[in-house]
């Protein structure tokens, strides 16, 4: 992919992230959520399990169907 020049305008959703500070949905390593909580940061940990019995190909297909 050739690099696309930036238009210089800050992206809206990302600007809000910097302005408001992160409110985090943690998906994966539980320790990341624990450490954020220990600092009184807003975080919710998702009790994630590998979808589709751990088959990434089927998981991807299921995600496409659900969106």
């Amino acid at each position: 992919m050739p690099p696309e020049p930036s238009d210089g305008l800050p992206p809206v959703g990302a600007t809000r992230l910097l302005a408001d500070g992160p409110k985090v949905i943690n998906v994966g390593l539980d320790s990341f959520a624990t450490e954020l909580a220990s600092q009184d940061r807003a975080v919710v940990h998702v009790d994630w399990v590998p979808p589709a019995g751990g088959d990434p190909r089927i998981a991807r297909l299921l995600a496409k169907l659900s969106t």
């Binding site: 690099p3 998906v27 919710v44």
Partner: protein, 498 residues
């Protein structure tokens, strides 16, 4: 004759760090030779087979099943170890990190409902599932920090293109560090808030620069991780360019430090053209890059230390390389941070040393050509961490290499890093100190740097004190440690006269 015993828990998932912690506790039990707690993916089953802990039952596990695999002195010890692992695994998990006692949501969508105003997904699931979860996060309007590695280049391009179209930031994949609005995310340090923004393709690069700036009296507005491939020709710097837009518009950011290995030439041109339009000063630290054609508002920094010094307004006092006599004996660098290993190689090569590395930068050779050279190993590299924790999480994984270097007859100086902060081991200096305290006198000198701050969960001053008490010479930065190691090399006693 030892006994191998396995238990398979069908449909049970725990993350790799949680499993490694339990495995580490089990391995320390009397009579336990080896222990593996892993999901039953084909790759993990292969690792357990090679480690001699996989029994017939473990071979039947699928990727959604947890395998507890023990090799022990006898059947009784093995059974006790399985029981203890079961006890540790069944300890109640903290249900939610919001302080409520309710069960954690099972999906990203329900988690968003549980946290009004959620704006960032921190994703660290196994790489094969990471892109799917990131795409779900974008659909929910969330920015993404993708910590997971093993995400394909095609997926990275698709994710970053999607994020840009939605006006969202996609940090990663393989993004180890970010600091947003003073909040350390993943592996990051507790730094002072201030007016320096960082855009970094590497986790330890961001950690070193942000800590040096903070320790030097400055502060960090935001540190945005991009992932190591962002400035490749294929990805085209999508995240770096968005991060420049963001920090340009951010009123808290006065200057920007840009850290990466050398970009693809066409991407470097695009990024530097964007830098030229910035109203802010940009410190460009493309480690190992030569002959950069920088715009007027940009300043080049050759090393991470240089970048921090320039950001602190201390231009020109840093990385001068000492003149030295030809070295006697060899230097062995054993690193947990990849960019710290790269910075050390650069400084040593500039001083005329012949370096070999498993992660060679320009001027270094590969380990196949290590004979007669000084060596710098990145022990956090994928080749060392398959089926094992990263050395920043579990410092014991570099013990063998450190012990071997200390016993090596041609080694004069051992150079180490010690990376603190959230995500890292609770006491890396304590571990290192205990390992080297028992060494015989007259061996190699040991030099280390400690990346972090006194506000970290492992306060830096105490970690430095612990290392010094064990006879380790501690420098204020990785670059300074490397220069100190160079000086010691030129003063070293020939190993055969020790």
């Amino acid at each position: 004759m030892s006994t191998v015993l396995n238990e398979v828990r069908r449909g049970t998932y725990l993350d790799s760090v949680a499993l490694m912690r339990v495995a580490s506790a089990i391995k320390s039990m009397d009579g336990v030779d080896e222990c593996g707690l892993m999901m039953g993916t084909p790759a993990n089953r292969r690792i357990m087979a090679e480690a001699g802990v996989l029994a017939a039952e473990g071979e039947t596990a699928g990727p959604g099943d947890l395998v507890i695999a023990i090799r022990a002195l006898d059947a009784k010890v093995a059974a006790a170890a399985i029981a203890e692992a079961g006890r540790l695994l069944s300890r109640p998990k903290r249900a939610s990190a919001t302080g409520s006692a309710t069960a954690s949501p099972r999906t990203l969508r329900s988690a968003v409902s549980a946290l009004p105003g959620a704006n960032l997904a921190l994703i660290s699931v196994p790489g094969a599932f990471a892109a799917t979860e990131a795409m779900k996060a974008f659909s929910a309007g969330l920015n993404v920090l993708l910590f997971s590695d093993n995400v394909s280049l095609d997926d990275e391009i698709a994710l970053k293109t999607e994020a840009r179209a939605r006006g969202l930031l996609m940090m990663g994949p393989d993004c180890g560090t970010a600091i947003i609005g003073g909040v350390p995310l993943a592996f990051a340090n507790a730094v002072t808030r201030g007016d320096t923004g960082i855009i970094g393709a590497s986790g330890t690069g961001i950690q070193e620069v942000s800590s040096l700036v903070s320790n030097g009296g400055g502060g960090i507005s935001h540190a945005i991780g991009t992932g190591g491939r962002d400035l490749s020709r294929d990805v085209g710097g999508i995240t770096t360019l968005m991060a420049l837009d963001l920090l340009d518009a951010d009123p808290a950011t006065r200057q920007i430090v840009l850290i990466s290995k050398p970009p693809a030439p066409e991407v470097a041109r695009t990024v530097l053209a964007r830098v030229a339009r910035s109203p802010k000063r940009v410190v460009v630290c493309f480690i190992g890059a030569k002959d950069l054609d920088l715009p007027r508002n940009a300043v080049a920094a050759a090393t991470l230390e240089d970048a921090a010094n320039v950001a602190l307004g201390r231009e020109g006092i840093s990385s001068a390389t000492p003149s030295m006599r030809p070295p006697i004996g060899k230097l062995r660098g054993l690193y947990s941070g990849g960019t710290l290993a790269a910075e050390a190689q650069l400084i040593l090569s500039r001083a005329g040393l012949r370096i070999a590395s498993n992660a060679p930068v320009s001027g270094s050779a590969t380990m196949a050509e290590a004979e007669g050279r000084h060596t710098i190993l990145d022990l956090g590299d994928d080749a060392y961490t398959i089926g094992r924790p990263h050395p920043m999480i579990e410092p014991a994984v570099r013990d063998r290499e450190i012990v071997a270097a200390l016993a090596s007859p041609d080694c004069a100086v051992v150079l180490l890093d010690c990376v603190l902060g959230y995500g890292s081991h609770p006491d890396p200096a304590g571990h290192l100190a205990r390992l080297v305290e028992a060494r015989p006198p007259g061996g190699p000198r040991i030099v280390a740097s400690v990346t972090g701050t006194d506000a970290d969960p492992q306060p830096r001053a105490l970690q430095v004190q612990r290392l010094r008490a064990a006879g380790i010479e501690v420098s204020p930065s990785n670059a300074a440690a490397t220069r100190h190691a160079l000086e010691l090399l030129s003063q070293a006693t020939p190993p055969n006269r020790r």
